[in-house]
Structure formats: structure tokens, C-alpha cells
Amino acid sequence: MATVTVRFFARYAELTGCESAAVAVPPTATVSDVLARVRQTVPGARDLPPRPLAALNLRQVKLDTRVSDGDEIALLPPLSGG
């Protein structure tokens, strides 16, 4: 198994009531798989949109990107900086 950290920001942090969670996934898992696991284990995460923006180790990635042990995945509401 791989253990990754999932971080929630802004509205997603409000939904889940948490800022980060450790999640264990199979070594071949993708960001999507991490997301699915989060929905099962983090109570408010069921209300996350089906395909949120995601970042892997500080860069935006597609949901089919593979993750590795120790990675940081972030789930990002629509960006509104500036």
C-alpha cells in the first residue's frame, strides 16, 4: 500500500471539516482512486464535486495521474485569485 496526504482548501475544507487526511491506496492508484477513497473515509467528502481540480506535489494534474507513497494530493475549488 501507498500512503498519501490529501489536503482540502477553501470551500472543500469547510465541506469536510478538515484540512488534510492521510489515505492508504494500492501502489497503482491514481488521483481518482485517492478521491474515491476519500469519499469513503472522510464524512463531508461525499459532497465534493465528481471531478474537482487536483494538484499532485504542488502542480495541477489530471485525475488519471498515478500517485506514489508520500505524495501530497490537493483538492482545489475553482480558482479565484487576483
Binding site: 470551500r11 494538484a55 495541477q60 480558482l79 479565484s80 485569485g81 487576483g82
Partner: protein
């Protein structure tokens, strides 16, 4: 060198001091300030700090590649910002004005698309709404696209 993210009011003067120089005769500044839409009294900005800083460094590197003669600096404020105060300032100085305008514009457009920063509008009646990138408020948790 200034911090890219700050919880304090932005000093455009300090940013200018960072990029101006005797061989750069044109300086373009962009400031985004909190607008009084409807009954908004302030906006709370939050960021994914480490990623935002990485994106800003990449943006500025891209800008340097496209306009090597320009020097550009930006600062984004976080936390609660009252109406009328700046949430972002970008300063681009270059030998001539074309590069100064173009570099400044490039950075603000990239900021809007790429920076992991979020706004929560505070209303006069005490309620708060998250702002989505099209500028429309998002009421619940299910209205993402």
C-alpha cells in the same frame, strides 16, 4: 526581495523599488482592489501557499523568458481585505512601455487562471459566500462544475 504572499497591506512603492532602475524607462502597475459588489464589506482570501509560491515563481520565469528586458514583481495579499484595499499588485518595469504593459498583463491573466487562491465574500448582514472564477457566488457544496 519581497514575499509573494502577505497578510499585510501591499506597498506598491516597495514593489516598484524592487523592479525600477535607471535603464528601465517604462513601468506598468496593475492593482486589483476589493470591489463593493452589492453588500460586500470585505473578502477573505486563502491560498494553498506552497503551490501558489511555486506557480508565481514559474509565471515570473515565463515572463522573464518572453520579456527578458523587463523586471516584474507581484504580491498577493491573503486574509481579510476590506473594500477598496488591494488584494494584488503587479509591477513590470522595462526599457520601453510595450514590454512593461505586456508583461504586466501576462502576469495578471496567469494569476487569474493558475493561482490556487480563493475568495470568500463577507456581506453586511454577516453571511459569507465563496466566489467562483466566473465571479458568481457559490451557495452550497454541490454547485461546482
Amino acid at each position: 526581495m519581497m514575499a509573494y504572499l502577505t497578510f499585510h497591506p501591499i506597498s506598491v512603492e516597495s514593489l516598484r523599488a524592487d523592479v525600477q532602475g535607471p535603464d528601465r524607462g517604462g513601468t506598468c502597475v496593475f492593482m486589483g482592489t476589493v470591489r463593493q459588489d452589492d453588500d460586500v464589506t470585505s473578502i477573505e482570501y486563502s491560498a494553498y501557499d506552497e503551490m501558489a509560491i511555486g506557480e508565481i515563481e514559474r509565471m515570473l520565469a515565463e515572463t522573464h523568458e518572453r520579456w527578458p528586458e523587463a523586471r516584474v514583481m507581484l504580491q498577493h495579499r491573503l486574509g481579510m481585505i476590506p473594500v477598496g484595499e488591494a488584494s494584488i499588485a503587479i509591477v513590470a518595469a522595462a526599457p520601453h512601455r510595450d514590454a512593461a504593459f505586456a508583461a504586466c498583463r501576462y502576469v495578471i491573466e496567469e494569476v487569474k487562471q493558475r493561482l490556487p487562491i480563493w475568495k470568500k465574500e463577507m456581506h453586511a448582514d454577516g453571511t459569507a459566500t465563496w466566489v467562483d472564477p466566473s465571479g458568481k457566488p457559490v451557495a452550497g457544496g454541490l454547485r461546482d462544475r
